[in-house]
Structures are given as structure tokens and as C-alpha cells.
């Protein structure tokens, strides 16, 4: 039995996969800052619901799957462990310099570097130097190293980030540093850059290592408390954490690479979308997870989740393999203002969870997207969160009045403006995201989950020329449901500088160096997988490279197909695959295969496949009764509408597979509301997902 738990800022979502394969779900409030308490509460809830006690429930759970925002929160709130950064002598300022990544402010009084997680006084320089080929130029000064470690320990520092230049080419010095630290302080937390992010570019590698050392101890403490709590309650199975790379991993592994859990929650949602796509035969998906303060967007192409090796969280660079989730700073709580140029602006400021939108009645007075939606009739003040929370329409009107007056509009027109701008912002973000990956959004379907997305998803899709939106049946606990279908996986990657000739034939030196590298990387992932004793038939080792045309920077990740260490045949097929992807993006004429290819990164992913639960599909035929509306109200029918129109309101619970309604219409779930705009049809499919067809 698998139990999946996703902890968000507000709710803890629980999904249980019973032995028969069926999924059941629950929701319970999160309990910050002691998040594990929410987990235990949730287990009680589940046990109650199943008419058993938590001990016998947990006794039957083989795998406890967990997505957590612990690391993200630690970074965002700067609440991590004090870290000492050990780096190559002469380069102690590089972390503070941060490549001069600037906050793109034009106001000179507001320009800043990223605010570092380690202050300069906690950066220790160690004499050592390795060159670009991995040759030792200056051997490490072990005595000096011990002194540096001693300095940090004296200050009471217990967590270390070690990042030396070119360590990913030759990790000896970092390995020694790790050994020395653990000799001097056996309980210390040590993150080394060759383990955290063995990629070229010392700043990004350093930043990733620092994030790991900063958040790792907290993750270790949290998972420790969680596991011992679970054990006390009779759990004997494995506790697995969701990692940003899209795989589940053991506690030991994830704690040592804490940076790998930064996107734990959002990634679970992306994987749930992939599983959804597999069910419904839709391989090309854009995920759209709109919450209160931000919106996460990710791409799934041909059933593959798009990955990236560089992301920024609160301006902190994170260079690990991770599902490429783009976060846009706009959500239901985003504030509407008038810019100095007279244009209406939405975000990036947000009312956040506190005070939240004005209509929440928690003291907010500024107009937000949610207030706009209320004024536009899209939200029912009596049926928000299934009626658990009343919305204050007058407060929303008061918040909108000054904005409307400044713009010389009615309040409803101003609210419609907010609705339209936020939809366009989302569309811009998705467009930028797809273009950065060289893809066309029109070939994709939008999967919308997250509390605030339902009112906007179809309009955003239309803005992008997309014709299909899927609102999953399990939308409210969607990320947690993603855990259930996620495989165990470990990925390691290392920067390299190898060459393939035309046609993808590795030049002799590169053939040797890549095969050595792949063997090494494979050894690492097999080592990680071994812990789980997965049978061979469910183990899969995938090799891939990030490659580019010689001299160009655009690189795609391409799989090296074939068994064992990749050989000539795999590279030839990879080159052909690269050519065709490049041509698909930039046109056939743009390719330059005659110069050969640069291999920039080698990656190995080891996957321990879990059996997928069979999904219950209702027979759609004949069931599709047309639901009766529970009422009607005046609401905004579409992005371009200027006036409210009367439209029917349905309850999702009145739908069964095959049920179909035509826009404009509103479909209310207990925890979210869906707008089916004009020229759209919505129907429930056999998996209870709401499918919206968006017509031009």
C-alpha cells in the first residue's frame, strides 16, 4: 500500500492507494512550523475514515511518499542553518559577487546583488587549485584546511558548503575537505559541490551547494522527526521524498542533496499531470497551478517531463537536474494598481495569505484578483470553499472603488480589466516558457489545478491558441495523487567538454572520456538504487547528454538509447534526434550539423519503476446525463466581455461521465470554481476529469 502526503502552506493533502488500486483522498490543515504534526493528524483522519486505527493503518503501508516545502520555506524565509562556505583561496568574494546578477531595477537606490545565504565573514578560503582539465595546479593545503574548518567550528557553525574551482573535473580536494570536516566534527552537515551540482560554472555550483548546506540540516531534522513519529505509530516501510528531478528518493539520499527537494511539491503536480496525460492519451501538456501568490507552469512533451539544470529561487541560483517549473509572481492575491503611466497593473505585489484579498475579510483593503473575480460574479460569496468561508462582496467593492475612480471606469469594468490582464500575464509566462524550450503552445493541452486556476485556465488557453483544458478529478489533492504514480529515481549529471563529429561519431578522446564518465555516473546511481532492492526487471538505467551544434549554446537534452554504456550507435541516433528537434524549432535551414556537436553534460538516471495502479475508468457511454444547474448568476462570460451576462451555475457533483455543458457556464467544486467561457464546451470524461474544449 502506498500513502502519499503533500504538505502545502495551508493544507496537507493525503492520497491512499489501496491494494485494489483505487485512490482515496483527504485534506487536513497544515500545522506550520511543525509540519510533521499535520502529517500525523492526516493519518488519524485516514484511519478514522477507514474505520481502523493509525497503527494498523501504518503497519500496512509499504511506502510512505512525501512531498514537502520544508527546503523551499527555509530558503524563502532565510531560516536555514548558519553555513560556512569553503572555497578556493583568492575567490572568496565570488559568492557575494554572484556574477553581478542584478535585479533589473533601473532605480539606482534599489539595485542589488542577490542577497547571499552566507555572509562574507563565514566564507573561508583554502589554498588549492585545479585547472580546467582537472589537473592539480596547487595541492590542497591540508593544514590550512583544518584551520579554516576550525575557525568555522569555533564560531559554532555546524554546516559546511565546499566549492572549489573545477571540482567537478577532479573532486579530490573536495573529498579531502569533506573527510577533514567530518574528522573534526563528526556531526557536521557537509555539502560538496561535486556532489550537489557537478556542473561547470562556479557561481551556480557554489550557490547550489550553499542552498544544500543551508536547508539540509532542517530537512534532516524534519525527516528525522517525521520518520521516528511514523515508526512510533507502527510504520515499518520506506519513507520516500519527492525530489525536484521527478523521482522519489530515500531520506538519506535527499537529505544529503537537499537542494534537490526545492520543487518537491510543484513537481509532484507535474508528475500527476503526466500520469493524467497517460490515462487520457495526451502526451503534450502544459501544467498550470495557480495559487494565492504565484503560479507554477511546466511542460510535458510527448509524455516526457521537461527538465532543466538551472533555476532561481528568490534569486538564488540552483543548478541541479530538476523538472523545469517556472513560477510567475501572480495569483489570486495579486494586487491591482494604476501605474504612473496611467495603465492598470496587476502584481507583482501580493496581499499574500495575510491579510489576503479584501473579500476574505481579514483586514485586506487593496483590490486583488480574487476580489475582481467576486465582483465579476465568478465566485459565489456563499459557496466559497463549499460554503466554509463567506466572502465579503462589499469589502471587495470598497477595495475597487478608488482604482475604478482613478481609471474613470465602473468597478465591474475595472475588475474585468484585472481579469483580462492577469490572464494575459499568465499567457505571456506560458509563451515565454514554451519559446525558451523551442515549442509551440498550440500543440499542447493545459492541465489546471491549484485553487485559483479554474476561473482563468480556459481564457489563458484561448489567449495562447490552445484548444483543450483538463481540470483533473483530483484537482484539489492533485500533487499528492502524483506521488502515487511516481517512480524511484536518482539522477546524476556532470559537465564535460566532449566532441562528436558530423553524424554523431565521438572523436576518439571523447569516446573514451565519455564512456569512463558514464560508467562512473552509472555506478553512482546504482549505488543509490541498491538501498531499495528493486528487482532487475523494474530497474532502468537511462543515459542522456546535453548537446549543441559545435560552437553554439543552444543545447537540448537527448536520450542515448540502447543497452549498457552508450556506444557509437547511440550517439548517431542522438545526433539525428538532435537535428530533428533543432529543425522543428528553428527551421531546417538553421541547422549546422556539418561542424559536429559539443557534448556539454552527461547524465545518468536510474529508475526503480513502481507498478502503476490500474485506474478505474467509468464507461462513458450512456451515462452522460445533462446536469441541471443549481441556479444562475450574472457573471463575466469571457476575457473580452465588457458586461456581465446571466449564466447557469452547476455543481461538479451533479456531473457524471459524459455530462456536457456549453459555455458560458460556471461549474463549482467544493474547493474551486471553473469558468467555462463563451465558445467553450465542458464535459466530464471517464476518469472524472473535466475536459474543456476551447474554440476560437
Amino acid at each position: 500500500m502506498r500513502l502519499g502526503i503533500d504538505i502545502g502552506g495551508t493544507f496537507t493533502d493525503i492520497v491512499l492507494q489501496e491494494s485494489g488500486g483505487g485512490l482515496r483522498r483527504w485534506k487536513t490543515p497544515s500545522t506550520p512550523p511543525d509540519f510533521e504534526q499535520g502529517v500525523f493528524d492526516g493519518i488519524e483522519l485516514v484511519a478514522d475514515a477507514l474505520g481502523t486505527d493509525s497503527r494498523s493503518l501504518l503497519g500496512r503501508v509499504d511506502e510512505f511518499l512525501h512531498a514537502t516545502t520544508v527546503t523551499t520555506n527555509v530558503v524563502l524565509t532565510r531560516a536555514g542553518e548558519r553555513v560556512a562556505l569553503l572555497t578556493t583561496r583568492g575567490f572568496g568574494d565570488l559568492y557575494q559577487l554572484a556574477r553581478m546578477y542584478r535585479n533589473q531595477q533601473r532605480d539606482p537606490s534599489l539595485v542589488t546583488h542577490p542577497v547571499p545565504l552566507v555572509p562574507r565573514e563565514d566564507v573561508e578560503e583554502v589554498l588549492e587549485r585545479v585547472d580546467y582539465k582537472g589537473r592539480v595546479v596547487v595541492p590542497i593545503d591540508e593544514e590550512g584546511l583544518r584551520r579554516a574548518v576550525g575557525n568555522a567550528l569555533e564560531k559554532g557553525i555546524k554546516s559546511f558548503a565546499v566549492c572549489f574551482l573545477w571540482s567537478f573535473r577532479n573532486p579530490e580536494h573536495e573529498q579531502l575537505a569533506k573527510r577533514v570536516i567530518l574528522e573534526e566534527a563528526p556531526d557536521a552537515y557537509v555539502a560538496t559541490s561535486f556532489e550537489a551540482a557537478p556542473l561547470i560554472g562556479e557561481y551556480e555550483r557554489m550557490s547550489t551547494t550553499v542552498i544544500t548546506a543551508f536547508a539540509g540540516p532542517e530537512l534532516r531534522a524534519y525527516t528525522g522527526k517525521l520518520l521516528s513519529g511514523l515508526r512510533e505509530r507502527g510504520f515499518e516501510g520506506q519513507l520516500l521524498l519527492m525530489k525536484s528531478d521527478g523521482g522519489l528518493g530515500s531520506i538519506e539520499n535527499t537529505v544529503t542533496s537537499a537542494g534537490q527537494t526545492i520543487y518537491s511539491g510543484p513537481v509532484a503536480g507535474v508528475l500527476a499531470s503526466r500520469a493524467l496525460g497517460e490515462e487520457s492519451g495526451e502526451g503534450n501538456l502544459i501544467t498550470f497551478d495557480m495559487g494565492g501568490t504565484s503560479t507554477d507552469v511546466a511542460l510535458i512533451e510527448d509524455g516526457d517531463v521537461r527538465s532543466t539544470s538551472l533555476q532561481f529561487l528568490d534569486r538564488q541560483a540552483l543548478a541541479t537536474t530538476m523538472v523545469d517549473v517556472t513560477t510567475v509572481g501572480a495569483g489570486g492575491g495579486s494586487l491591482a494598481t494604476v501605474g504612473p503611466d496611467g495603465a492598470m497593473r496587476v502584481g507583482p505585489e501580493s496581499a499574500g495569505a495575510r491579510p489576503g484579498p479584501a473579500c476574505y475579510g481579514r483586514g485586506g483593503t487593496e483590490p486583488t484578483v480574487t476580489d475582481a473575480n467576486l465582483l465579476l460574479g465568478l465566485l459565489d460569496p456563499e459557496y466559497f470553499l463549499g460554503g466554509d468561508m463567506a466572502l465579503d462582496r462589499e469589502a471587495a467593492e470598497r477595495a475597487f472603488a478608488p482604482l475604478a475612480e482613478r481609471l474613470g471606469m465602473t468597478e465591474v469594468a475595472a475588475a474585468a480589466g484585472v481579469f483580462r490582464i492577469v490572464n494575459a500575464l499568465m499567457a505571456d509566462a506560458v509563451r515565454l516558457r514554451t519559446v525558451f524550450a523551442g515549442l509551440d503552445p498550440r500543440a499542447f493541452a493545459l492541465v489546471s489545478f491549484g485553487g485559483a486556476g479554474g476561473l482563468h485556465c480556459a481564457s489563458v488557453a484561448r489567449e495562447l491558441g490552445m484548444s483543450r483544458v483538463i481540470v483533473p478529478a483530483l484537482a484539489s489533492v492533485f500533487s499528492a495523487s502524483g506521488l502515487i504514480s511516481t517512480d524511484l529515481a536518482y539522477s546524476v549529471a556532470r559537465s564535460t567538454k566532449d566532441l562528436l563529429g558530423p553524424g554523431g561519431v565521438p572523436v576518439p578522446d571523447s569516446a573514451t572520456s565519455m564512456s569512463d564518465l558514464f560508467e562512473q555516473l552509472e555506478g553512482q546511481v546504482r549505488g543509490s538504487l541498491d538501498v531499495h532492492s528493486i528487482p532487475d526487471e523494474r530497474t532502468e538505467i537511462r543515459h542522456s547528454v546535453e548537446m549543441a551544434y559545435a560552437g553554439q549554446s543552444l543545447h537540448f537534452e537527448v536520450d542515448l538509447v540502447g543497452d549498457g554504456t552508450p556506444g557509437e550507435e547511440s550517439f548517431a541516433r542522438a545526433a539525428a534526434e538532435f537535428d530533428s528537434r533543432y529543425a522543428a524549432t528553428y527551421g531546417t535551414g538553421a541547422a549546422a550539423p556539418e561542424n559536429g556537436y559539443d557534448v556539454k553534460t552527461c547524465r545518468v538516471m536510474g529508475v526503480g519503476k513502481v507498478p502503476r495502479p490500474p485506474v478505474a475508468q467509468a464507461d462513458g457511454e450512456g451515462l452522460g446525463s445533462t446536469p441541471l444547474p443549481v441556479g444562475s448568476r450574472r457573471a463575466l462570460a469571457d476575457t473580452d466581455s465588457v458586461e456581465l451576462t446571466e449564466m447557469p451555475v452547476y455543481r461538479a457533483t451533479d456531473f457524471n461521465p459524459g455530462s456536457r455543458v456549453t459555455g458560458p457556464a460556471i461549474v463549482e467544486y467544493t474547493d474551486s470554481t471553473i469558468l467555462v467561457p463563451c465558445r467553450c464546451d465542458a464535459s466530464l470524461d471517464g476518469f472524472a476529469n473535466l475536459q474543456i474544449e476551447v474554440n476560437r
Binding site: G90, Q105, L165, I200, R420
Partner: protein
């Protein structure tokens, strides 16, 4: 508020925002396409390009840009194309230009590619990219002329030509260009990448027009510009009227180490602003000049940062602004003046002169005063050439020399190493990126102590690097300093930051290895101190793997009187190694006792310094009359003013029209004369001692640093960098006084 614009029927505050965000996103998409399609180190690792949207007439609407000047310059290509091709522009045209004299960007390295977007047979808007291409031919790799030259000897320049003609690619045009350059393959890829980005922009525009309709887009574009103009005019009308002056100094024209001065007067009248470069030196025989587009771009850069950073950076900002750039001067050179270095010389320093002038203007409004800024970093660099470690031809530079400290501002210290105030989207490469592509081993890179300008708030520190040729025989080096011996101005009694420098530490590697063997810190300062110092500009230098190469950028200028800097902040700086104990004492009057401050000695020293300042002679005795531009040292009656006006931390004009010290209310003079004649004044040649940060003293003795203090309380009210023998700069005069002056 923009009542008028909002009142017009066309203005749609919602769709306007949507279109604005869409176009800005489009510019980012174009930038990404450019980076993706090219392998250029300058694009990928340093973001040296700009992408923009423009209206039918070539007015800038949106841009993302390495520097604001670069973004603005795209408009030059559009305007020239409209003039040149007139009715011959067709859908599918893509135009290419790199001649700064005729339709190009700031300098010939910036290849500008633009394309019109049509609505039927009418141009609706343009998209464009300006990007720094590594080589555009010419005598010197890297393409900056060193010695005196003319523009014909510099690089290949193309006036606007059709790169695509009605959709048909002109291979002949591309070939004609590439035959002139050293790395035709790499440059060919770059040009393809730029063009690809422009095509992408065109497609995005077409989609937008299809969605919203051409008429609405047209109306929105014109309203966006009008609204920015209206908002900016309103902002200007809240600032005090007057004529405000500033200057910026460049050195060395390639053969002669002369000082070249750019002067800017900012004349503010009602809701109008004139930026007048009259008085700027004639164009130089060497690399220092810029063309007209840079003169306007420099003004735009100031408008977009210290004046109106919150308004969209569009052409509307220029609507209430007149730029006067006399022909034949540094900022508006005429052929055959060389202009290959415009981006880092005239088309950068012009902004610095405008910033100095603007600081006195912005001081007059509490909100604007927050944004007062001195010049930030400048670009000191050297083209290093020779085969790289893979045996390929290679030339490149270490960006450390561009990583200067930011200016201190009213409410905080300057950020360390931040390049220019105008380089919004710039960043620098990783050490490992350099070393993987270039034959270099970095030995040390850090924020250089004592480089930040002294002030109540300290200027940001410069970045310094020490490195050596590696896996190669040697580098041939071409040197381009900026602000090596000619410092920037500072703000409100603050002091300039350190000069930039490149040095060759001959044979230093032997010592480096010894230090490594002994486990000792490298004495980088010592190496730099004793190293060979090339002139500000020169070539023919050879650096071998036995030598060290040292490069340091400029420090940011300080804000306010350094003697009133919080001693705790000075202590913190000393602890962080930003300021040495000696400099703490010399510049800030803070005496260290071991690891802590000696409060008694500090108080005593600060008192002594104030007393010394009070005893300085008045300007009327200490300063030259020069060409008379500083006015006469005769007192006169005040002219009417709209009320009191703040001009700096320590300087204001009171309700009666008299300059007075804001600390002690000491009265200097009336507003009809230059107060500096009655300030306690010290004038010294520019040197490390006089400005308080490392900088070589010029043997020519042609540049001075002046400190203006209050004879009453000793506050350091203002400072200036000036040519020797020059009158004290008359930074502010009421319009009435300006109008009375003989022309």
C-alpha cells in the same frame, strides 16, 4: 496622474498594459532566441545585446538591453531606414546596419537588425535587435582603434542595407560583410542568430495585431508614448527650475595623454528639460568619440534611471526633452572621427556628465533626491589575443575591468562591482567559463579594498583580478583603460572612487609558486604595486605564462561628507576588509585601536579635520577665474526664486535667495552668483592622496580635485573634478541668471 491621456477615447488602460507586457515578453523571447542560436561568449555569458519594439516612426516602445543606450540606439536604424528606403519598404524586409554615422548603433561592433511589421501595405511597427559582434574587421582584433586613426581605418561599416528583401535572404549582402571579418564562421552564426530573433519578434507582432486589430495597437502605442510623456512632464514640473551643470573626463586619445571633457547643462524650465552638451571638447583624433545617437542615448539612460525609473522606458520620456549636441564634438562627432569605442567612451561618459548636473536638480525634490547617483563603473579592458589552449585563434577580454563599484546613494552605500547604472541586463562570466575557452588561469578575484569613494555613504568596491596566460605561449595585449587617472565625480560632498588599472607583473609567477609552496597568501597588492603600468591606451604588449596580469575596475563614488559617516559603519568596513585602517583614518577620520574604534581619538581627529577645513582659504582666493564660466567673485543681490531649494546634503538656497550651509546656516552668497567662491576651498592635483582612493597622479598635472567646505562648520559640502586652471563649475543657477549671461 495622466488625466489628459486617460480622457482620450483611444486610451485603454487594460489593453495597454496587456500589450506592454506582451511586447516586453517578446523582447525577452527574442533575447533567448539570440542566445540559443549563437555561441558567442558576449551574448551567452555577458548578455551584450538589446531587443526592442518600436512604433511606425521608430519611437522606442519597449526594450530589454545590456545598456539603455544600446536599447535606445535601435531607433536610429529604424529612422534611417525609413528615410532611406521610404516607399521601398515591403513586408518581409529585414534591414541590417552597423554604421554609427548612418543608421547604425552606438559603435560599429553593434550590429543592428530591424524589421518592419506591416498592416496591409502600411507599416504598423518595428522590431529590432542590436548586438555586440565579437569582430567586425579593421586593423586591430577586437576592433577598437588604439592610435590616432579615422573611421575608415577602424572597421567595416554598413549603412542600412536589406538583409532580406521582401522575404528573400540576401546571401550577397552577408558575404560582403563577412569577407571583412576575422572570424567569418562565428560572425556568420551571430548574424543568423540576430536575424532569427528578429523574425521571431515579427511573428509575435503579427499574432498580436491579428488578435487585437491594427487600429487598436496603433492607438495603444501612441497612447503609451503620450502617457509616459505626460507623466514625465508632470514629474518635471515638480522639480525646481534652473540650469544645472556637470562634466565627465576621459583620458588619452591613443597617442597623447590629454584630458577630454564632456560637459552637460541640464536646463529645467516648467515641464521641459534641455540637455545641452555645449562646451564639450572637440572630437578626438582617437577612439573616444561617439555619434549623435549616443548623445541622445546618454540622455535617455539618465532619464530612465535617476529621473523616471518607474515609467516605461519609451520614447515618451524624450518628448519634453531637447538634446543639444554640437556637431564636431566628442558626443556628436563628424566623419572622419573614429568611433569604434563609443559605447564605453562618449556614449557612456555623456551620461556621467548628465548625472552630475542632475544631482543638483533632483536634490530639490525629496522623492527624486533618493535616486541621486554619481557615475558607476566604466569599462577598462584589454583585448588579449593569441591561440587558445585548443590551438584556435582567439581573442577575448577579462570583464573584471567593467565590474566597477556602484555609486553610493542618499540612503545606502554603493553596491560592490555592478558595472554601469545603465547596464540593466548585464552580467559577467564565471571564472570556469573563461578558463574552459581561453588560455588563462585566474589566481585571485576579489573586491578591492579602499576602492570605494569616501562619503557619508561609501561608494561600491571595484572588482580586481590577477591571472596569467595558461596553456599558451603568450598573449598579445591591446590596452583600453577608462578612468585610469581621471576619476568620476561624486555626490554632495562625497569623494570619487579608485581609478581603474591594468598592470603586467613581469615574472611574478615565480613568486606566486613560492607563495603556494609556502602556503602563503598571494601578495596581489604588492605585485600590482611593482608591476609594469601600461599607458591608458596602447598595444604591442606581450604577457607570458611567467607574468601576472592584473586588472581592476573603478570604484563607485561616495555620497555626502565622509567625516559624518557613522563610525560603526566604518568599523564594519574595516572588519570586512572593504576599508583599511589607514584609509579609515585618512578618509573618515576614524581611528582604529586594534580591532575596535578609538572613540576619543576619533572624535578628536574629526574635530581637527573640521578645524582644518574651516581654515581653508575661500574660493575667491584659491580658485582660478579661467574662462569666466564660473561667474565673477563679486557678490550680487539675489534673483527671485520660487522658494527655498535644496541643492545637496549640506547646501540649500533659503527663502531669501541665499546659499547657505544646511548644518550651521552659514550664508555663502546670493543665488545670482556661484557660491563656490565663498566656500573654504582646497584644490589639489588628482592623486590617491587628494581623492582618498588609489589613482595615479597625472604627470601632466592637468586635472584637479576640489573640495568645497563650509567656513562656518567645516562640513564638506561639495567636491569636483576639473581641468587645471578651469573656473569652479557653476552647478546651479536660476533661469533668470542664466538668461542675463552673455552668450
Amino acid at each position: 496622474m495622466t488625466q489628459q491621456a486617460q480622457g482620450t477615447a483611444e486610451f485603454d488602460p487594460v489593453l495597454s498594459e496587456i500589450v506592454y507586457n506582451y511586447e516586453l515578453t517578446m523582447n525577452r523571447e527574442m533575447g533567448r532566441a539570440l542566445v540559443n542560436l549563437s555561441g558567442s561568449f558576449l551574448f551567452v555569458s555577458a548578455s551584450d545585446f538589446a531587443c526592442g519594439c518600436l512604433d511606425a516612426e521608430g519611437n522606442i516602445l519597449t526594450t530589454i538591453s545590456w545598456s539603455l543606450q544600446m536599447g535606445y540606439a535601435i531607433s536610429n536604424t529604424v529612422r534611417h531606414s525609413l528615410e532611406r528606403f521610404k516607399d521601398d519598404l515591403r513586408p518581409g524586409d529585414v534591414i541590417f546596419a552597423n554604421d554609427p554615422y548612418e543608421g547604425g548603433g552606438l559603435h560599429s561592433h553593434d550590429v543592428v537588425i530591424v524589421a518592419p511589421v506591416f498592416d496591409g501595405d502600411e507599416i504598423l511597427m518595428w522590431v529590432g535587435v542590436s548586438a555586440h559582434v565579437t569582430d567586425v574587421g579593421g586593423a586591430v582584433p577586437g576592433g577598437y582603434s588604439v592610435e590616432h586613426s579615422d573611421v575608415f581605418g577602424e572597421n567595416v561599416r554598413f549603412t542600412p542595407v536589406k538583409f532580406y528583401d521582401g522575404g528573400k535572404f540576401r546571401q550577397d549582402v552577408l558575404d560582403a560583410f563577412l569577407t571583412n571579418v576575422r572570424l567569418p564562421e562565428a560572425t556568420g552564426i551571430d548574424l543568423k542568430a540576430i536575424t532569427g530573433a528578429v523574425w521571431m519578434g515579427k511573428e509575435r507582432c503579427s499574432a498580436m495585431i491579428e488578435q487585437h486589430g491594427a487600429d487598436r495597437i496603433r492607438a495603444i502605442h501612441s497612447a503609451q508614448i503620450e502617457n509616459a510623456a505626460t507623466a514625465f512632464r508632470e514629474r518635471l514640473s515638480q522639480l525646481p527650475d534652473g540650469v544645472y551643470r556637470g562634466a565627465a573626463h576621459m583620458e588619452h586619445d591613443g597617442e597623447d595623454d590629454l584630458i577630454y571633457t564632456i560637459r552637460a547643462a541640464v536646463i529645467k524650465r516648467g515641464d521641459q528639460l534641455t540637455v545641452d552638451y555645449t562646451g564639450t571638447d572637440p572630437q578626438a583624433p582617437g577612439v573616444l568619440n561617439g555619434t549623435e545617437v549616443g548623445a541622445i542615448g546618454d540622455a535617455m539612460a539618465a532619464l530612465g534611471t535617476v529621473y523616471a525609473p518607474d515609467l516605461p522606458f519609451n520614447e515618451g520620456l524624450l518628448d519634453p526633452v531637447t538634446v543639444v549636441a554640437p556637431e564636431g564634438t566628442l558626443v556628436n562627432a563628424t566623419k572622419p572621427a573614429p568611433i569604434s569605442g563609443a559605447t564605453v567612451y562618449a556614449s557612456w561618459f555623456g551620461t556621467d556628465a548628465i548625472l552630475e548636473a542632475s544631482n543638483y536638480l533632483l536634490a530639490g525634490h525629496p522623492e527624486a533626491a533618493r535616486r541621486r547617483s554619481g557615475p558607476w563603473g566604466s569599462w577598462t579592458f584589454a583585448w588579449l589575443q593569441g591561440p587558445n589552449q585548443y590551438g584556435q585563434p582567439w581573442f577575448w577580454n577579462v570583464f573584471t575591468g567593467g565590474s566597477g563599484g556602484a555609486s553610493a546613494v542618499q540612503d545606502r552605500d554603493g553596491e560592490n562591482a555592478m558595472m554601469g547604472i545603465q547596464t540593466i541586463d548585464a552580467f559577467i562570466p564565471n571564472v570556469e567559463e573563461y578558463e574552459s575557452q581561453s588560455p588563462v588561469l585566474f589566481l585571485d578575484t576579489r573586491f578591492a579594498a579602499d576602492t570605494g569613494g569616501a562619503g557619508r555613504h561609501r561608494g561600491g568596491l571595484a572588482l580586481e583580478s590577477f591571472c596569467t596566460p595558461y596553456d599558451t605561449e603568450a598573449w598579445d595585449v591591446v590596452v583600453f583603460h577608462n578612468r585610469m587617472s581621471a576619476p568620476s565625480s561624486a555626490i554632495a560632498g562625497g569623494q570619487p572612487g579608485a581609478g581603474a588599472t591594468i598592470r603586467f607583473a613581469r615574472g611574478a609567477m615565480e613568486s606566486v609558486r613560492e607563495h603556494w609552496d609556502r602556503g602563503e597568501e598571494l601578495p596581489v597588492e604588492e605585485y600590482a604595486e611593482t608591476a609594469e603600468r601600461p599607458p591608458a591606451r596602447g598595444r604591442g604588449f606581450r604577457v607570458t605564462p611567467e607574468d601576472g596580469y592584473y586588472i581592476r575596475a573603478t570604484g563607485g563614488p561616495g555620497f555626502g561628507d565622509p567625516l559624518i559617516r557613522d563610525p560603526e559603519a566604518v568599523l564594519e568596513d574595516v572588519r570586512r576588509g572593504f576599508v583599511t585602517a589607514e584609509a579609515a583614518e585618512r578618509n573618515f577620520g576614524v581611528v582604529m585601536a586594534g580591532d575596535d574604534i578609538d572613540p576619543v581619538a576619533t572624535a578628536r581627529l574629526r574635530e581637527e579635520r573640521l578645524a582644518e577645513r574651516r581654515a581653508l582659504p575661500l574660493g575667491e582666493r584659491a580658485l582660478p577665474v579661467g574662462d569666466g564660466s564660473g561667474g565673477s567673485a563679486e557678490p550680487g543681490p539675489p534673483v527671485p526664486q520660487d522658494g527655498p531649494q535644496v541643492l545637496g546634503e549640506g547646501l540649500e538656497i533659503d527663502e531669501r535667495g541665499y546659499y547657505r550651509c544646511r548644518s550651521c546656516e552659514h550664508e555663502f552668497a546670493s543665488n545670482s552668483v556661484n557660491w563656490k567662491w565663498w566656500a573654504a576651498t582646497e584644490e589639489l592635483p588628482v592623486s590617491g592622496d587628494s581623492i582618498g582612493a588609489p589613482i595615479p597622479e597625472r604627470p601632466e598635472g592637468d586635472l584637479v580635485f576640489r573640495r568645497y567646505c563650509c567656513p562656518g562648520c567645516g562640513s564638506q559640502i561639495d567636491t569636483e573634478v576639473a581641468n587645471a586652471g578651469e573656473a569652479p563649475r557653476w552647478n546651479f543657477m536660476p533661469l533668470a541668471v542664466h538668461e542675463e549671461l552673455p552668450r
